[in-house]
Subunit: 306 residues, 2 copies
C-alpha cells in the first residue's frame, strides 16, 4: 500500500492528483492537502474553489474545456440574480450551487469543513482523501498599487490585472492544520507538491503552523513538480506574478522557494535548470490527457519512491 | 386613483391581485398584504412561498401549469443536492434560488423583509405594492394526531395528509405589522380578502396585532371572495381542513369567520348560501384565464366600491 500525500491548489494540482489516484488504484492511497486561502463568502454562501475543483475533477464532473466548474452546467440562477440586480461578477452555476448551499448550511451548524468535504467526497465515490489545509479561516490577500485586494477580487473580478507587491494569508498564524494533515505528511511514502502556483496556492498551505515543519521532518522524500519552464508558466498568472515579485521565472526559483524541505524537483525535458543542490528529474510535464496525468504520476513514483 | 388593499396567501390570492392590478392600470394602486406564516428556512435559505408566488405571478414569471415556482425552470441544483445526499423534499428550482439566496444574504445584513421584497418587485417592474404582513418571524404550525408539524412539513412533505386539529401562529403575538400595512388598510378605498385559505393563509395575517383592528376600523368596505362553494373548495386543502376542524364547507362558514369586519361576501352563481347578515354578491368565481381574473376584479369593484 503506497501512501502518497500531495499539496494542491486548484486545476493544475487536481490533474496530478487524478493521475496519481488512477495510477495507484487499489494499491495505494492518495491524500490531497488542499489550499483554502481562496475560500470566501459570496452572496452569503461559503465557497471553497480549490476544494471543489478537486471534488469535480476526481468525480469526473469537471468542465475540462472551461477549466473550472461543472460539466453540463446550467445558469438559471445567475440569470435570475442579474434580473434582481444582484452581484454577478462571480459565476455560480446551478449545479455548483449545491456544494455551496450545503456547505454553508453545514458550517452554520458547526460541522468542520474537513468533515463536510469528506461527506461530499464519499457521496461522489471519490477514492482520494481530500483534506482542507485547515478548518479555520485563512484568507489570501493581495497587496497591489491599488491597495489590498481579497483574492477573488484580484483573481476573478480583476482577472489578475493589478500588479502583485506582496501576498498575505490572513488568519494563518492562528490556524491549525485540519485533522489528518500532519499525520498524512509524516506517514507518507512520498510527498508531492503539485504544479500549482507556489505563491498563491501552495504558500497558504505552508503558512499553516506545523505543516512546513512536518515537511522538513517527514522521512518521506518531498518532490515538487515545477509549474514553469524557461520563463513561461504552464497556466494561470504564475509567470506574471513572479515577474512582479522580482523573481526569475525559472524552475530554479521554484526549487529555491521549496529548498528547506525539497528533495527532488520534477522539470520539463526542455527546461534549462542549472545545479540547484536538489535532485532533478526530467520528464514530459504536460497533463492535457488522462494518459499524460497518469504517466507523470508514474514518472514521479518510479524516480522518487524509495 | 382607486386604492385597493388585498389580503393574500399564495396562488389563489395572487390570481385576484393580478386581475385587480390589470383592471386598475394607471388609474389605481393595489397593495397586497401577504401571508408570511409559511416562511421557513430550508438548507439555511430563507424561503417566503406566498411572497414569491406574488412576485412570480405579477412579473409574468410563474409556472401556471405547475401551480408554483417559475416558468422555464431548470433543476440542476436539486439534482446535485440529491447526489450529495442533501434534503430534497422541498423542490428548489435553479432560477428560484436567486430569490432565496439574495433574500437570505440581505436578511443576514439586517435588511427588513419588506424592503427586500420592495427591491425585488422594483427590479421586476411590478406595479402592485407587495407587503409582507410583518417583518418579524411568524411560523404557522399544525397540530395533528402525529403531534405538531411545521407548515411546510404538513403542506409539502406530508401533502396535507395528517388531520388538522388546530392551527397556531408562533410568534404572531410579538409581531408588528410591516411598515405600510395598517396605513394601507385604513386609507384604502376597498379592502379585498382574496379567495385564499382562510385558516392557513388569511388567519396568520389577522393574527398580527393591529391588523384585525384596522379591518374593523377602516372606512372602506371589506369584501371577501369565497374559496368554497357547496361543500367543495376551488383548490388546495381548504375543504379537507374545514371538515377536520368540524366546520361545514360553505361560504356561510367563511362569512361567519370574517363576520366582525366583513361587509360583502362574493360567492359563485351556484353557491347555496343562506342569509348571513352580510351582503352577498354572486358572480363567476373561476380565475383560470387572465380575462376571468380581470372580470372578477371588475365585479368586485363595480358592486362594492362606493
Amino acid at each position: 500500500m503506497t501512501r502518497v500525500t500531495m499539496l494542491s491548489g486548484g486545476v493544475g494540482g487536481a490533474k496530478l492528483v487524478l493521475g496519481m489516484e488512477r495510477l495507484l488504484g487499489d494499491d495505494g492511497k492518495v491524500t490531497a492537502i488542499v489550499n483554502t486561502g481562496d475560500d470566501f463568502r459570496h452572496l452569503g454562501l461559503a465557497i471553497s474553489p480549490d476544494i471543489d475543483t478537486l471534488l469535480y475533477t476526481l468525480s469526473g464532473k469537471s468542465n475540462v474545456a472551461q477549466g473550472w466548474g461543472r460539466a453540463d452546467e446550467t445558469w438559471s440562477f445567475l440569470q435570475a440574480v442579474r434580473s434582481l440586480s444582484g452581484e454577478d461578477w462571480f459565476a455560480l452555476g446551478d449545479g455548483d450551487l449545491a456544494l455551496h448551499v450545503l456547505r454553508t448550511a453545514a458550517l452554520a451548524k458547526g460541522e468542520p469543513l474537513s468533515q463536510i468535504v469528506a461527506r461530499f467526497a464519499a457521496s461522489w465515490g471519490i477514492a482520494t482523501r481530500i483534506l482542507p489545509m485547515t478548518d479555520d479561516g485563512v484568507a489570501t490577500w493581495i497587496d497591489s498599487p491599488e491597495g489590498p485586494l481579497a483574492f477573488q477580487e484580484y483573481f476573478v473580478a480583476r482577472r489578475c490585472e493589478p500588479a502583485v507587491r506582496a501576498i498575505r494569508f490572513d488568519g494563518a498564524e492562528a490556524a491549525a492544520p485540519a485533522p489528518g494533515v500532519i499525520d498524512a505528511i509524516e506517514t507518507a511514502d512520498l510527498v508531492v507538491i503539485a504544479p500549482s502556483n507556489p505563491y498563491l496556492s501552495v504558500d497558504p498551505i505552508l503558512a499553516v503552523p506545523g505543516i512546513r515543519q512536518a515537511l522538513g521532518d517527514t522521512p518521506a522524500r518531498v518532490v515538487a513538480v515545477s509549474p514553469v519552464m524557461n520563463g513561461q508558466a504552464f497556466k494561470g498568472p504564475t509567470a506574471k506574478l513572479m515577474g512582479e515579485l522580482g523573481l526569475p521565472v525559472t524552475s530554479a526559483t521554484i526549487a529555491a522557494h521549496y529548498a528547506p524541505f525539497l528533495n527532488v524537483m520534477i522539470v520539463d525535458h526542455d527546461d534549462e535548470i542549472g545545479d540547484q543542490g536538489v535532485e532533478i528529474v526530467r520528464t514530459d510535464i504536460a497533463m492535457s490527457t488522462l494518459d499524460q496525468k497518469v504517466a507523470l504520476a508514474r514518472t514521479i513514483l518510479d524516480s522518487c519512491l524509495r
